[in-house]
């Protein structure tokens, strides 16, 4: 049985081996916390797409909101719509109010442009100020997610890096953050058996993201079950993947109270040590 880890964004420039090792260590901590040990002969897959995504984003020259705002960089309206929708959703969930955002909105409020990057930038500033996101660079996060979701060539290139790791023998796939979105897209096209899909810190239920996936949403055809874990304080994993927010059939099992100790409650090294997360992965590996 193979275990495949799919990392999130912002890992570019890191050493692939060291990154994989940090995931393995965190997983083993989780097994230990659950009173389990690493299954013997475990084969690990660790597709590393971070450098390629970074290269493609720069190749496309997709600007950050701050660049659009401060340097007048060009950006298309669809992108503004996505970012506005995504950030607004996050901001409200983080308890950031319109008044908080207005405090960062320096323009004359009588300017009622249809596409108001300044307002979107104000949301980013208000979110940063709220400290709810810890060290997550939300501006570049939304840019990368937007590029991956809406540019078919980029999506194919990233998915093609992950796909070879989920062919052949049955496997268990773990996707974190943007990696959970990549994993979902890859599994929907997969033809081999996936015993369990485990998503952690997943933004899949955020409306701006799920409405840009291939519709209708469904359980990947060859995936037997799906377990999702989030920390209540993880703003990126805004909603659980439950019947209200991601109502596929069969339903996804959710754990919503992971005690993620990383500063933004989103980091992978805060998720994998959770005993329930480790138990779910272990159970799928040992009793497929």
């Amino acid at each position: 049985m193979k275990l495949v880890f799919i990392h999130g964004r912002d890992q570019q420039g890191k050493d692939r081996v060291a990154l994989q090792q940090s995931w393995e260590n965190a997983f083993e901590d989780g097994l230990h916390n659950a009173g389990l040990s690493r299954p013997g002969g475990l084969e690990l897959g660790f597709p590393f797409y971070a450098d390629e995504l970074d290269r493609l984003v720069h190749q496309l020259n997709t600007p950050l909101i701050a660049d659009v705002q401060d340097r007048g960089a060009a950006a298309d309206t669809q992108e503004a719509e996505f970012r506005g929708e995504f950030l607004q959703e996050l901001a409200y969930a983080a308890g950031v109010t319109d008044d908080d955002i207005k405090a960062h909105y320096t323009e004359d409020l009588t300017e009622k442009g249809f596409l108001n990057w300044k307002w979107v930038h104000a949301i980013v500033k208000a979110l940063d100020r709220s400290k709810k996101l810890g060290n997550i660079a939300i501006d570049s996060f939304t840019r990368d997610v937007y590029v991956y979701l809406t540019n078919a060539a980029v999506q194919k290139r990233i998915n093609d890096i992950v796909k070879p790791h989920v062919v052949g023998d049955p496997c268990v796939v773990v996707g974190h953050s943007l990696g959970s979105v990549v994993g979902y897209n890859v599994l929907r096209e997969a033809s081999n058996k996936v015993v369990k899909y485990v998503t952690i810190g997943s933004p899949l239920a955020v409306n701006a993201i799920k409405s840009r996936l291939k519709l209708p949403l469904d359980m990947p055809r060859t995936t037997k079950s799906w377990f999702n874990a989030r920390s209540k304080g993880d703003i990126v994993a805004l909603y659980p993947l439950d019947n209200q927010h991601f109502p596929i059939d069969p339903a996804i099992t959710n754990k919503t109270n992971v005690n993620n100790t990383t500063d933004n409650q989103h980091g992978i090294v805060g998720y994998l040590p959770d005993p329930d997360v480790a138990r779910q992965i272990n159970q799928a590996l040992t009793n497929p």
């Binding site: 799920k210 409405s211 840009r212 519709l215 209708p216 949403l217 109502p247």
Partner: protein, 581 residues
């Protein structure tokens, strides 16, 4: 895969007569849908409850917002109202006041194209009268699908209980209600419950599982036979021909049986249904004409066509009438209009000069605009009754307006003699184009001008050339493409027409791009849609829609826009003052 249905039945609407079968039809349909495993929302006006637009919107939004549904059926039984052959409103409990308490079916379908659900089915078991009261003519309705484009890959099947007639031949409300028997729902459910083996297809899946599916397409042929037959069983005077426009095909389907259908009562086997031979029904008749009307190579020989049915004869008579209504060959200015009938007043925007000349039963309007002038201008033409229309001035063309019983029944444009277009192209194509554009006009008038996927490409090539010689062909093509959800093809028509401005407002509207609109507004004429159905789609350009709203309330049911006298007075005043162009 999840399927859902929003089922609406309204027996009582405003002061219109009480319907007896709308709620019970909705309940029957809902029961069938539940049996299919669909998530069903039933909205009926039973026990003193009302069905409001918000109720229907909430139900639809709940389903579209979930993003997990493969199919959504929208069923309505109740009072319907046609603004024009292709623009239907479903009246809800409070209609006609406020004017939004109705479902604008065409606008809903336009928004539904982008809702992310791959398969939508609209079922309308409504009486489709065209001659409701003054207050009903002001009903504009609203879309029930969210104005929030997600992904546009939706196929829509339309099931209408009755085919739209020519709205100039008004079906009185009393007659429509008298004829309303819920026959369509009965026939449809008969087939969906598995009692009509010929509509069922046996499908074997990759895992060898056998499924018994009922796709939309075979239902079209079955309903075309069954509904008129059942109507005449109920009352020999009852003439009801349904209109079914299926876009989907397997693996998409309307219903599924849990077991093999009953043995065919007529001894027929189970399997794909063969299309019925072309019957007397106008939709088929027009479809047959399409091939020759929309092709360079196939001759259009009307003398060989079957004309057993009265409506088909009427259709051919209208074609002949349209083709024979010629305008003046040219004006000294190379630009003008010939109206077959008497007019009382004309106004043109931007201070463009004109003369009016009466000539027996015709009126000629000479317009001082030079051939090739791209600037768009509107001309408002008021008839002696006070009613009137607004058209686009096309420099270098003579517009011909045909009236019947003081209503505008057709408009076309012909390159003026001595223009380059006439000398180099039109005179060689004149014979070919006359009957063909008469066909497009008559078919649009009857709501049977369609450019579906099979014909779109061939017809598109034909129209691309011909619309240069008559912009109304580009207009008809744009509506037909828009109705089939082919926005790219509308944009292709627009792109070509922008090379030869002015462009009809309708084409810019149907291209659904505020950016394109902003860049080309000056090249557009007239200031609003020339076809009535365009006014029901103004939400596609929200800012413009708001600007035009004050005139929309004066529109009458018709294909070509026809305004009430008060509306004409306001429009002419605005054109003369420079408030409209």
């Amino acid at each position: 895969m999840k399927h859902a249905a929003v089922v609406v039945g309204v027996n009582k609407t405003g002061h219109l007569p009480l319907l007896m079968g709308a709620v019970s039809g909705a309940k029957d349909f809902a029961q069938w849908a539940r049996g299919q495993g669909m998530d069903v929302t039933l909205l009926i006006d039973e026990g003193g409850k009302e069905v409001t637009l918000q109720d229907v919107r909430d139900a639809v939004r709940k389903i579209t917002g979930a993003l997990v549904y493969q199919k959504l059926v929208i069923f309505f039984s109740g009072h319907g109202f046609l603004l024009t052959a292709d623009t239907e409103l479903w009246l809800l409990s409070r209609s006609p006041d406020p004017e939004t308490e109705a479902v604008n079916v065409q606008l809903s379908a336009t928004f539904a194209r982008d809702c992310g659900i791959p398969h939508i089915i609209f079922v309308s078991d409504a009486c489709r009268s065209g001659g409701a009261t003054h207050s009903h003519r002001r009903v504009k309705g609203a879309a029930i699908f969210p104005n929030r484009p997600i992904k546009g890959d939706t196929e829509i099947d339309f099931f209408y209980a009755t085919r739209p007639g020519d709205t100039a031949l008004e079906v009185r409300e009393a007659d429509a209600v008298g004829n309303y028997k819920g026959i369509f729902t009965d026939c449809l459910l008969e087939a969906l419950r598995g009692h009509v083996p010929k509509v069922v297809e046996k499908v074997q899946e990759a895992n060898f599982v056998i499924r018994w599916l009922i796709p939309s397409r075979p239902l079209k042929f079955y309903l075309a036979e069954a509904v008129p037959q059942k109507a005449q069983e109920v009352d020999i005077k009852l003439n009801q021909n349904p209109q079914v426009i299926p876009e989907s095909s397997l693996p998409k389907y309307f219903g599924e049986l849990t077991k093999a259908p009953e043995a065919a009562r007529d001894g027929g086997g189970v399997g794909p249904v063969a299309p019925s031979p072309p019957g007397p029904e106008l939709g088929d008749f027009a479809t047959n004409l399409h091939m020759s009307a929309m092709s360079f190579n196939v001759p259009l020989d009307l003398s060989t066509l079957p004309t057993v049915h009265l409506e088909n004869r009427l259709f051919l008579k209208q074609m002949a009438s349209i083709a024979s209504a010629r305008g003046r060959e040219s004006f000294e200015t190379r630009t003008g209009f010939t109206v077959h009938g008497h007019i009382s007043r004309v106004a043109i925007g931007s201070g463009v000069k004109f003369d009016i000349e009466h000539d027996n039963e015709m009126t000629h309007v000479r317009i001082y605009k030079n051939e090739g002038d791209p600037d768009g201008n509107s001309i408002a033409i008021q008839l002696q009754s006070g009613l009137g229309t607004v058209l686009g001035v096309q420099p270098g063309f003579v517009g011909t307006v045909l009236l019947e019983q003081d209503r505008i029944v057709n408009v076309n444009y012909t390159p003026a003699r001595y223009t380059k277009l006439y000398d180099e192209e039109y005179q060689y194509e004149a014979d070919r184009i006359e009957q063909r554009r008469a066909f497009a006009a008559a078919a649009s008038r009857h709501g049977v001008f369609r450019l579906d996927s099979d014909e779109a490409q061939r017809a598109g090539e034909y129209l691309r050339m011909m619309k240069r010689l008559d912009p109304t062909l580009g207009l008809y093509a744009s509506y037909a493409y828009s109705q089939a959800g082919k926005v790219k093809q509308v944009r292709s028509v627009l792109s070509y027409m922008l090379d030869h401005p002015p462009v009809p407002f309708d084409v810019l509207l149907l291209a659904r791009s505020p950016d394109v609109w902003k860049g080309n507004a000056e090249l557009c004429a007239p200031f609003g849609p020339m076809l009535r159905q365009g006014w029901a789609l103004l939400e596609l350009l929200p800012d413009e829609g708001e600007r035009l709203r004050e005139y929309a309330r004066y529109l009458l049911p018709s294909l070509w826009v026809t305004f009430e006298p008060e509306g004409m007075d306001r429009i002419m005043h605005a054109l003369e003052k420079g408030n409209l162009k």
